[in-house]
C-alpha cells in the first residue's frame, strides 16, 4: 500500500544514515521549504483555474478554454504575464511598506501551513497547541493588508484596508468560537489528536447540533476572514475599484492574488480537519465492507477531497450572493454570529461534560 508516510520515513532514514543528525535536519528543512513553495505555486494555479471554471459554469459560460486542453494552462500564461509586467510604485507611496506588504501576507499563509496534516502522519510540525497556533497566526494577515492600504497613498486603498481591518478582527471571534467547540469535544489542541478522535466518525456527524451549527458559523466566518464575497468589502470592486490592492501591479499583485487563494485553501483544510475528519476515511457505523472499501482510498486523497469540497462551497457563495454593506457586515457578526456561537459553545460544553456525543 502506497502512503506518503512510508516515503517520508524512508527519506528520513536514508538521510540520517548518510549524514550526521544536524545536517540531516537541515536538509530536511530545505526539502520542506521547497515542497511548501511548490505546493503554493501549484495551489495557486489550480485554485485560480478552478475559481474561473466554477464561475463560468455557474454563469452559463465556458470559462478559459484556449490555452492548453480545456484551458488548463491559462493560469500559467497569466502568471507569466504578471511576472513580465512592470511593478509600478505610486509617487509618494511609502516604498518600504508598499513592497513589504505582499510578502507579509504571503508569509502568514506559509506559516499556517506548518501544523496541517495532509495525510496520515504527513505533517510538517505537529505542535501541541496546533489550533491555537492557527488562530493566532491567521490574524496576522490583517497587518499585511493594512500595510498595503496605508502605504499605497490611495484613498480607495485606505478605505479598503480600514474595512478589512474591522472585518477580520471581528470575524476572528466567531471563527475562534467555532473552532473551540471542537476543542471542547476533543479535549486537545493538537491537530493529530483532533484527527485521531474522529476515527469512529467525523465531528460534524457525531457532535450533534452544536457541531453542525459551529460548522456553518466557521464557514461564514472564514469566508469573511479571507475577504471573499459576499464579504469582499476590502476589495469591493464596484465600490472601491480594487480596495487595498488598487495600486499593486505585476508580481506584487500576483502575490496578493496568490495569498487570497492560499488562505482559502488553509482555512478549508482546517475546516476539513476539524469537522470532516481530516485525512480519516468516511466510516459508517457497522457497514464493515463499506468501511473497508473506504480504507483503500489513500488518506491524502481523502484530505484533498474534503478540502476542495469546502473550497467549492466558498466559491459557490461568491458567485451567488451580493455583497453586504460595511455596517451590515458588522451587524451580522455582533448581532447574529457571536451570540449564536457563544450559546453554541455553552451547549457543546454541556454535551461534552455529560459525554452525550457519540
Amino acid at each position: 500500500m502506497y502512503s506518503l508516510e512510508g516515503i517520508t520515513k524512508s527519506i528520513q532514514d536514508w538521510l540520517f544514515l548518510k549524514f550526521d543528525p544536524t545536517l540531516a535536519l537541515a536538509i530536511e528543512c530545505v526539502i520542506v521549504i521547497l515542497l511548501a513553495i511548490s505546493l503554493f505555486a501549484i495551489l495557486g494555479l489550480v485554485l485560480v483555474l478552478m475559481e474561473r471554471k466554477v464561475a463560468a459554469h455557474i454563469q452559463i459560460r465556458l470559462g478559459p478554454n484556449r490555452v492548453g486542453p480545456g484551458g488548463m494552462f491559462q493560469t500559467v500564461a497569466d502568471t507569466l504575464k504578471l511576472i513580465m509586467k512592470e511593478g509600478l510604485t505610486p509617487d509618494k507611496a511609502d516604498k518600504f511598506l508598499f513592497n513589504l506588504a505582499p510578502f507579509v501576507v504571503m508569509m502568514v499563509g506559509m506559516l499556517l501551513l506548518a501544523p496541517i496534516a495532509f495525510a496520515k502522519n504527513f505533517q510538517i510540525w505537529d505542535i501541541n497547541i496546533g489550533v491555537l497556533y492557527i488562530s493566532s497566526v491567521s490574524s496576522l494577515s490583517v497587518i499585511g493588508i493594512l500595510m498595503a492600504g496605508w502605504a499605497s497613498n490611495n484613498k480607495y486603498s485606505l478605505l479598503g484596508a480600514m474595512r478589512s481591518g474591522a472585518q477580520i478582527v471581528s470575524y476572528e471571534l466567531s471563527a475562534g468560537f467555532a473552532v473551540l467547540t471542537i476543542v471542547v469535544f476533543t479535549g486537545s489542541l493538537q491537530i493529530s489528536e483532533i484527527v485521531a478522535s474522529q476515527q469512529t466518525g467525523w465531528w460534524l456527524f457525531k457532535g450533534h447540533i452544536p457541531a453542525v451549527i459551529s460548522f456553518v458559523l466557521y464557514i461564514i466566518a472564514v469566508t469573511a476572514e479571507t475577504n471573499r464575497a459576499p464579504f469582499d468589502l476590502a476589495e469591493a470592486e464596484s465600490e472601491l475599484t480594487a480596495g487595498f490592492h488598487t495600486e499593486y501591479s505585476g508580481m506584487r499583485f500576483a502575490l496578493f492574488f496568490l495569498a487570497e487563494y492560499i488562505n482559502i485553501f488553509i482555512v478549508c483544510a482546517i475546516g476539513a480537519t476539524l469537522f470532516l475528519g481530516g485525512w480519516m476515511p468516511l466510516h459508517i457505523g457497522q457497514w464493515e465492507s463499506f468501511n473497508h472499501l473506504m480504507d483503500y482510498i489513500p488518506s491524502s486523497i481523502w484530505f484533498m477531497g474534503k478540502t476542495f469540497l469546502l473550497i467549492f462551497l466558498i466559491m459557490w457563495f461568491r458567485w451567488t450572493f451580493p455583497r453586504l454593506r460595511v455596517d451590515q457586515l458588522l451587524n451580522l457578526e455582533w448581532k447574529y454570529l457571536l451570540p449564536i456561537s457563544l450559546f453554541n459553545l455553552l451547549l457543546a460544553t454541556v454535551i461534552a461534560i455529560f459525554g452525550w456525543h457519540f
Binding site: 470592486e237 464596484s238 465600490e239 475599484t241 451567488t320 450572493f321 451580493p322 455583497r323 460595511v326 451590515q328
Partner: protein, 378 residues
C-alpha cells in the same frame, strides 16, 4: 441603533477636517460609463456628491441643427443607447405632428411592440448591472441571456442590435421580418419561464433586500421638484407614465397598468422596473397577434419641411420622459433642438438621495437610478 444623521451632525462642526474627497469615475466600475462623481466622505458616510459631466458630450443638439429632419433621427439613437428605438420614435412623432403625416396602423402597432421590446431589453441590462453593482455577478449573465433574444429579434427586423434606426417619418424603414411574430412569442415564453430566476437570485435574497430597502429614499415632492420621471418617480408614488397620461401611437388601445410604489427607496425602484417588464410583456402579448395588414410607411414628401413654429413631443423611454423640443424657422433643418433627457434630471436628485448614507448605499442608489451617461451628457 445609531442614527446616521446624528453622526453627520457631529462632524459638521469640525468643518472640512475629517473630510475625504474621492473621485469616483470617470473610470470606475460602478458608474457604468464616464460619469465623474466627486464624493466628499466622512469615514464611510457620504457628505456631498457633485457630478461632473461632459466626458461623452458630443453636442448632439448642435449637431442636429445642421442635419435635415430625415437625417437627425438616427443621431438620437446615440443618446440613450438602451432605448434608442424609443428615442427615434419620439423624434418621428414630432415630425409627423408638425407636418401632419398620416402613419399607417401597421406601423403604429409595430412601433409599439418594438418599443416595449426595447424597454424590456433595457430593464434586463439594468437588472444585471444593478446586481453587479451590489456584488452579485451571476444575475448579469442570466439577464443577458434573455436580452440576447431581444437583440436577435431586433437584428432580424431592423438590421442592428442597439442603434436600430428603424423609424422614418411616416412609418418604418422596411417591413417586419417574416419570423418576427414567431420569435417574439418564443421570447415571451422564455421570459415568463425565467423571470422566477431573478426572484430567487436577486429579489428575495436577504442580502439584496437589506442592501436596498430604505436606501436612497426620494419623497414624492422631491421627485417632482427634481423633475424625476420614469421608474424613479413612480417608485415614489408620482404618476408620470407618458404612455398613460398622453397616449401616443396605440397605447390608448391596449390595457396595461402603470406601476406605482410609495416607498421611494431603492428596493421600490427595483420592484417597479421588474414589474414594468411584466407589463411590457402583457402589452406585447395583446398586440403580437393583431398586427394589421397594410402599408408600413405613409406617403411623405421627399424633402421634409417643418412649418415655422415650436413643437414639443414626449415619449416614455425605459428611463422616463424623453422630450423633443424643436424650434423651426420653416427650413429643412431645425433652428434649435432640445432633448429633454430623463437621465439628466434623475441624476440631479442623486446628491439629495445619497447624502448621509454609506458608499455601499451610493452604489444601490446609483444603480436604481439607471443612469446612461450618453443620455445625460448628450
Amino acid at each position: 441603533m445609531y442614527n446616521q444623521t446624528e453622526i453627520l451632525k457631529d462632524t459638521s462642526e469640525l468643518g472640512t477636517e475629517g473630510e475625504l474627497v474621492i473621485n469616483m469615475g470617470p473610470q470606475h466600475p460602478a458608474t457604468h460609463g464616464v460619469l465623474h462623481l466627486v464624493v466628499t466622505l466622512n469615514g464611510e458616510t457620504i457628505k456631498k456628491i457633485e457630478p461632473h459631466l461632459g466626458y461623452i458630450h458630443r453636442s448632439i443638439e448642435k449637431m442636429c441643427e445642421s442635419l435635415t429632419y430625415r437625417q437627425f433621427i438616427y443621431v438620437t439613437s446615440r443618446m440613450d443607447y438602451l432605448s434608442s428605438h424609443i428615442n427615434n420614435l419620439g423624434c418621428a412623432l414630432l415630425i409627423e405632428k408638425g407636418i401632419q403625416i398620416e402613419v399607417p396602423d401597421r406601423a403604429k402597432v409595430i412601433r409599439v411592440i418594438l418599443s416595449e421590446l426595447t424597454r424590456i431589453a433595457s430593464h434586463e441590462l439594468w437588472l444585471g448591472a444593478m446586481a453587479m453593482d451590489l456584488g452579485a455577478f451571476t444575475p448579469f449573465f442570466y439577464a443577458f441571456r434573455e436580452r440576447e433574444m431581444i437583440t436577435e429579434i431586433m437584428e432580424d427586423t431592423c438590421g442592428a442590435r442597439l442603434t436600430m434606426n428603424y423609424i422614418v417619418p411616416g412609418g418604418l424603414m422596411y417591413d417586419l421580418h417574416p419570423d418576427f411574430q414567431k420569435k417574439v412569442k418564443a421570447f415571451v415564453k422564455q421570459f415568463k419561464a425565467k423571470v422566477t430566476e431573478y426572484e430567487d437570485l436577486v429579489t428575495n435574497n436577504i442580502i439584496f433586500q437589506s442592501r436596498t430597502k430604505g436606501v436612497g429614499i426620494l419623497s414624492a415632492e422631491d421627485a417632482i421638484s427634481f423633475g424625476c420621471t420614469g421608474p424613479v418617480a413612480r417608485a415614489s408614488g408620482v404618476s408620470c407614465d407618458i404612455r398613460k397620461i398622453y397616449p401616443y401611437e396605440v397605447y390608448d388601445k391596449v390595457s396595461f397598468n402603470e406601476i406605482l410604489d410609495t416607498a421611494g427607496d431603492s428596493f421600490a425602484r427595483y420592484m417597479v422596473r421588474v414589474k414594468e417588464m411584466n407589463e411590457s410583456i402583457h402589452i406585447i402579448e395583446q398586440l403580437i397577434d393583431n398586427i394589421p395588414d397594410g402599408d408600413f410607411v405613409g406617403k411623405t414628401k421627399n424633402v421634409l419641411k417643418l412649418p415655422k413654429g415650436e413643437f414639443y413631443t414626449r415619449v416614455e423611454t425605459a428611463r422616463g420622459e424623453f422630450g423633443v423640443f424643436i424650434v423651426s424657422e420653416g427650413g429643412t433643418t431645425p433652428h434649435r433642438i432640445k432633448f429633454r433627457s430623463p437621465g439628466f434630471s434623475n441624476l440631479s436628485a442623486l446628491n439629495h438621495m445619497a447624502v448621509g448614507s454609506k458608499i455601499g448605499d451610493l452604489m444601490a442608489t446609483m444603480g436604481t437610478l439607471d443612469l446612461v451617461i450618453p443620455d445625460i451628457d448628450r
